[in-house]
C-alpha cells in the first residue's frame, strides 16, 4: 500500500475513464443488433447491482483490499489461494487489455510494426505511471478527462453537422426476441461493467470512504449512458451490418466526417481518445494487480514489483493468443463464462455470505463476552 489519498471526484473520473477504455473500441451487446444500445443500458443496471455487491463485501472490512480480507473470510489457506487466483486474474485481464490496444494500433495504423514493440511502448508508459503512484494517475485522469470530453463533444457536433447521423438505422426497435436482448444484456454486464471489480483495490485510498458508494453508482451510471449513446451514434451512422463487420466501429464513424473540405480525416481524434482510454484501463489493471501481489506476498515497497511484473504482463500479452480473431473469440466466449462469471459474480457472492456469517459470529461473541 502506498501512502496516498485520492478524492471522490478523482475516483469518479478514474472509474469512468476505466469503463470507457476498451469498451469504446470493442463493441458490446451486438447480439441485440440495432438494439445494442438498449442492451448496454440493461447491462448497466446489472453493473449497478454488481457494484453494490462489491461495496457491501468491502464495507465489512473498511480500509482493506480483497486480497487482504479474503484470508479473513475463508481462512488463511483457502483465502490465500483464492487471493492468489484473484491476482492472477487481474494480471490476465491487464495482459488482455494491453493486447487489445496493441492490436488496435497495429491494425489501424502500424501494420508493419511488430506487436511487441507497440506493447513495449505502452508498458514503458504504464510502468512509469504505476511507479509515480495512484495520486499522479488520479490527477492525470482529471486533466485527460477534460480532453476526452472535449474530443467527444467536438466529434458529436461534427457528426451532426456532417449529416451522418441517421436515426432510421436504429429502427426497428425490439426486433429480436426478448431472450436475445436479455442475452446481450447479460454479456455486457461482465464486460465492461463487471470490471469495476478492480476498484475494490483502490477504495482504501479514498479520502471520504462514505462517498465511495455514491461515487461508484454515479460512475457506473454515467459511463453506461456514455457507452449507450456512443453505441447509438455508431449504429445510426454506420448501420448494423457495417458496424458488425468493423473491427473498430468508432473509427469508421469518425472517418465518415467530411466537412467544409477541411474537417476530414479526423482519425487522430479517434487515436487520442482511444490511447487515453487504453492508458487508464491498462494502468489501472496493472496497478491493482501489482498492489494485490504486494499485499499478498507482504512486499513493503510495492514499487519494487512494478518493473518485473510489468515485464511479465508485457510477455503475457503477446503469449495469450496466436492471432487477433482468436484473441477476440477468447474475449467474447471463454473469458466471460469461465473467468468473469466466477470472479465477478460467484466469488463476491460467496465472500458476502462468508462475511455475513463471520460478522454474526463476532457479534455473538461480543454479546457473549458482555
Amino acid at each position: 500500500m502506498e501512502k496516498a489519498k485520492i478524492s471522490p471526484r478523482q475516483l469518479f473520473v478514474l472509474m469512468v475513464l476505466f469503463q470507457l477504455g476498451s469498451s469504446i473500441i470493442i463493441p458490446v451487446g451486438l447480439t441485440a443488433k440495432q438494439d445494442a444500445w438498449l442492451a448496454i443500458l440493461g447491462g448497466m443496471a446489472g453493473g449497478l447491482l454488481l457494484f453494490l455487491l462489491y461495496y457491501k463485501v468491502g464495507s465489512y472490512y473498511p480500509g482493506l483490499v480483497p486480497t487482504e480480507y479474503m484470508p479473513k473470510i475463508w481462512g488463511p489457506v483457502l483465502g490465500k489461494i483464492f487471493a492468489f487466483l484473484y491476482v492472477l486474474y487481474l494480471f490476465y485481464l491487464a495482459a488482455r487489455v494491453l493486447r487489445d490496444f496493441g492490436e488496435m494500433l497495429v491494425i489501424f495504423a502500424y501494420p508493419e510494426t511488430p506487436l511487441f514493440i507497440i506493447n513495449l511502448l505502452w508498458m514503458v508508459l504504464v510502468v512509469y505511471t504505476v511507479r509515480k503512484g495512484i495520486e499522479a494517475l488520479a490527477r492525470t485522469g482529471e486533466i485527460l478527462f477534460t480532453v476526452v470530453a472535449i474530443l467527444a463533444v467536438t466529434s458529436f457536433i461534427l457528426l451532426v453537422f456532417n449529416g451522418s447521423i441517421d436515426t432510421r438505422n436504429l429502427q426497428p426497435v425490439f426486433e429480436e426476441k426478448p431472450i436475445t436482448l436479455l442475452k446481450a444484456m447479460g454479456e455486457s454486464v461482465t464486460f465492461p461493467f463487471g470490471e469495476i471489480l478492480v476498484f475494490t483495490m483502490i477504495y482504501p485510498y479514498l479520502t471520504q470512504l462514505k462517498k465511495a458508494k455514491r461515487v461508484g453508482l454515479y460512475a457506473v451510471l454515467i459511463s453506461g449512458l456514455i457507452l449507450s449513446v456512443t453505441m447509438a451514434i455508431n449504429l445510426s451512422v454506420l448501420g448494423f451490418s457495417l458496424l458488425s463487420r468493423s473491427q473498430f466501429p468508432l473509427l469508421s464513424t469518425i472517418q465518415t466526417i467530411q466537412l467544409a473540405e477541411f474537417l476530414e480525416r479526423l482519425d487522430v481524434f479517434f487515436m487520442i481518445g482511444v490511447i487515453i482510454g487504453g492508458f487508464f484501463k491498462i494502468t489501472i489493471f496493472v496497478y491493482v494487480a501489482i498492489m494485490g501481489a504486494a499485499s499478498l506476498f507482504k512486499v513493503k515497497e510495492s514499487s519494487h514489483l512494478v518493473f518485473p511484473l510489468g515485464l511479465i504482463t508485457l510477455f503475457l500479452s503477446i503469449g495469450i493468443a496466436g492471432n487477433f480473431p482468436e484473441h477476440i473469440r477468447e474475449g467474447l466466449d471463454v473469458v466471460p463464462l469461465y473467468l468473469h462469471l466466477p470472479f465477478q459474480v460467484i466469488f463476491p457472492l460467496l465472500l458476502l455470505v462468508g462475511a455475513i456469517l463471520r460478522n454474526k459470529k463476532k457479534q455473538k461473541k461480543q454479546l457473549a463476552t458482555k
Binding site: 495504423a109 490527477r139 480525416r265
Partner: protein
C-alpha cells in the same frame, strides 16, 4: 562569467594556507585590533583604515571601511567629520563613557550598533558598514548606514516586458529590492527574514511573506530547505533554485522567478513566499503551479476577456512549440492519410528533391535554429541583426533553393521558433526546447502513437510533481472548480472573491461582496446631464 571563475580558482588555494584562528572578540588595544584586520584581509588596499584622534583626551581611534562599498560623501561629511569635531563633555571622561557619548551624541546616523565579536564586525564590514574602533575599549561600532557605492539604478525590466503596468524592475541590491516591494504593500504584516548563505560569498538571502495570508507550513519548509544549503557560494538566485526544488530530475521549473516588484507583490498577496538573493534582480517565488508560467502581469491589468483569450492562446503556443515539428514528422512519414489531399500533394511536391528523411531534415533545421538563437543571444545588439539576416534569410533561402530542406519544413520550424519566443516564461520555454527533441524522436519512431504516449507521460510527470507541498498541476489536477477563476481563464476582478486556498490556507477572502460594477440608478438624469455636457463640448 570569467571573473567569477577566476575568483573561485584563486580562492581555492588560499583556503589551504594556514590562517591564524580568529579570536572571538576584540581587544581593548587598538593596534592589535588594526593589525588583526590587516592580516585578515592580507593588506588588501581596498580596506581603508583611517586613524584619528578624538575628544579632548585625544583618544586614538580608527575608522575602517571597504572602498566602494560605502557612500564616501556620507562617510566623510557625517561620520568622520563629526567624530573629529567631538568635544568631550568633561576632561576626565573614561573610555567607556566616551564610547557611550559618541553613540548618544556624535554619530548622526541610524543603524549604529556596538559589537564585540570579530565575526559580526567583519561580516558587516563586508556588506558596506563602517567600523569605528576606539583605543582602550573592548567594543566597536558598526555603522550600517554608510552602505552605498556604485550600483545599477532601477530600470525597466529586460526579460518581462509589459504593455500595461509598472515599468520598474529589481536591481542587484537586495535592500533596494525589498524596499520596492514594501513600497507596494504597505502593511506591517509584510514580514522579511534574512539569512546568509555561502561560506565564501556570505550572500544575503531574505524571504518575504505576508504574515496574515501565508501558509506557515510553507514558510517553515522554505526556511528548512534554505538552512540545509551548505555551499561555498551563491552567485545568483539560480543556485538557490536548484538547491531547494522538489524534483531536481524534472525538466520543468518548479520555482518561479521574476524581476518585477508588482509580480512579487501580487503573488505575496496570494500567499506565496518570495526569496530575495543579493546580487541578482531575479527574485524567486514558491510554491508555484504549472499554469502560473503561462500568466503575465498584464493579464490582471487588462480586461478579463482579452486576458482569458491570451491565456488560451499561450497554452496553444506551448503545444505548438512542444510538438510542432513532431507532428509534421509524424504526419508526413506515418499518417499521410490524415493530411487533406491537396496539402499532402503540395508537401510531397516540395519534398521530391530533399535528400533526407523528414526527421533528419527536421533535426537539421531545429539544430540550425538553436545555433542561430544561441549566436544571437551572446552577440552585441549591433551584430545581432546581422546574424538573423545571414541565418534566416541567406541560409534559409539558399537551403530551400538548393533543395536541401523543403519550404514546409522551414515554415514549421519558423512557427515553432516564434511560438517558443511567445511563451511568457523563459523557464518553460527552455524546458520545452529540450522536450521538443524527445518528441521528434518519438514521432520518428512511432508517429502519432509516440507523440500521444509522450504527451500522456509528460502529463503524468507533471501531475506527480509538487512544489513545496502544492501539487504542480493544481487547480487542474487535483481539480478545484472554485479556484479555476485564475488559471486558463482569468475571471473578472469583481468575481474573484477568494484567494487560491492552495497557498493561503487561513485567509482567503479577497474582496467584499457585490463588487460587480453597474450603471447608476436612476439612469435618466445622468444621461441628460452627459448629453448636455456633450453639447457644450461640441
Amino acid at each position: 562569467m570569467s571573473p567569477f571563475f577566476k575568483g573561485k580558482k584563486q580562492a581555492a588555494p588560499n583556503q589551504s594556507q594556514p590562517v591564524d584562528p580568529m579570536p572571538g572578540s576584540i581587544t581593548s588595544n587598538l593596534q592589535d585590533n588594526l593589525s588583526l584586520v590587516k592580516q585578515k584581509f592580507g593588506n588588501s588596499p581596498d580596506i581603508i583604515i583611517r586613524e584619528l584622534k578624538i575628544g579632548s583626551s585625544k583618544a586614538k581611534a580608527a575608522v575602517i571601511y571597504v572602498q566602494g562599498l560605502v557612500d564616501n560623501q556620507l562617510l566623510n561629511d557625517f561620520l568622520i567629520e563629526s567624530l573629529m569635531q567631538y568635544q568631550s563633555s568633561s576632561q576626565n571622561e573614561t573610555k567607556p563613557e566616551m564610547l557611550d557619548n559618541i553613540y548618544d551624541l556624535v554619530i548622526p546616523m541610524g543603524g549604529v550598533k556596538k559589537q564585540t565579536e570579530w565575526s559580526k564586525l567583519l561580516e558587516s564590514l563586508l556588506v558596506g558598514a563602517t567600523l569605528i574602533f576606539i583605543d582602550g575599549t573592548d567594543k566597536a561600532f558598526t555603522v550600517a548606514s554608510t552602505q552605498g557605492g556604485e550600483g545599477r539604478s532601477i530600470s525597466e525590466p529586460t526579460t518581462q516586458n509589459v504593455i500595461r503596468g509598472s515599468k520598474e524592475a529589481f536591481t542587484e541590491n537586495i535592500s533596494t529590492n525589498i524596499s520596492m516591494v514594501r513600497r507596494i504593500i504597505r502593511t506591517p504584516d509584510l514580514w522579511v527574514e534574512s539569512m546568509k548563505i555561502g561560506t565564501q560569498t556570505n550572500t544575503n538571502v531574505s524571504i518575504m511573506y505576508l504574515n496574515n495570508i501565508v501558509d506557515h507550513d510553507v514558510v517553515q519548509e522554505v526556511k528548512k530547505r534554505l538552512k540545509k544549503i551548505k555551499i561555498d557560494s551563491i552567485l545568483e538566485s539560480g543556485y538557490i533554485e536548484q538547491l531547494i526544488e522538489d524534483q531536481p530530475a524534472s525538466p520543468f521549473p518548479q520555482i518561479y522567478h521574476t524581476e518585477k516588484p508588482d509580480v512579487i507583490a501580487g503573488n505575496l498577496l496570494e500567499g506565496r513566499v518570495a526569496i530575495f538573493v543579493n546580487g541578482t534582480p531575479f527574485v524567486l517565488l514558491v510554491p508555484v503551479v504549472f499554469i502560473q508560467f503561462f500568466q503575465t502581469p498584464d493579464d490582471y491589468y487588462f480586461r478579463f476577456d482579452i486576458a482569458t483569450f491570451t491565456r488560451f492562446l499561450r497554452i496553444f503556443i506551448f503545444f505548438i512549440s512542444l510538438i510542432g515539428p513532431a507532428v509534421y514528422i509524424a504526419a508526413t512519414t506515418f499518417h499521410q492519410e490524415m493530411i487533406p489531399t491537396q496539402l499532402v500533394l503540395i508537401i510531397a511536391a516540395q519534398r521530391e528533391t530533399v535528400p533526407f528523411p523528414a526527421v533528419i531534415e527536421a533535426l537539421i533545421m531545429e539544430l540550425a535554429f538553436e545555433v542561430l538563437r544561441e549566436a544571437g543571444l551572446r552577440l552585441p545588439k549591433a551584430i545581432g541583426s546581422t546574424v538573423s539576416i545571414v541565418g534566416g534569410l541567406v541560409i534559409g533561402q539558399a537551403a530551400v533553393q538548393a533543395g536541401i530542406v523543403s519550404p514546409p519544413m522551414v515554415i514549421v520550424v519558423a512557427i515553432t521558433a516564434i511560438a517558443s519566443f511567445a511563451t511568457p516564461s523563459f523557464a518553460v520555454a527552455i524546458s520545452v526546447r529540450l522536450l521538443r527533441f524527445i518528441f521528434m524522436g518519438l514521432a520518428a519512431a512511432f508517429g502519432f502513437y509516440g507523440i500521444i504516449i509522450g504527451l500522456i507521460m509528460m502529463t503524468v510527470h507533471l501531475c506527480s510533481l509538487r512544489s513545496f507541498g502544492v501539487p504542480y498541476m493544481a487547480p487542474l489536477g487535483p481539480f478545484r472548480p472554485v479556484e479555476n477563476g485564475d488559471t486558463l481563464i482569468r475571471a473578472p476582478w469583481w468575481a474573484t472573491k477568494k484567494r487560491p486556498s492552495l497557498f493561503s490556507s487561513n485567509n482567503v477572502k479577497r474582496e467584499a461582496e457585490n463588487q460587480m460594477p453597474a450603471p447608476p440608478q436612476p439612469r435618466t438624469i445622468k444621461s441628460e446631464s452627459t448629453e448636455k455636457g456633450n453639447q457644450n463640448e461640441s
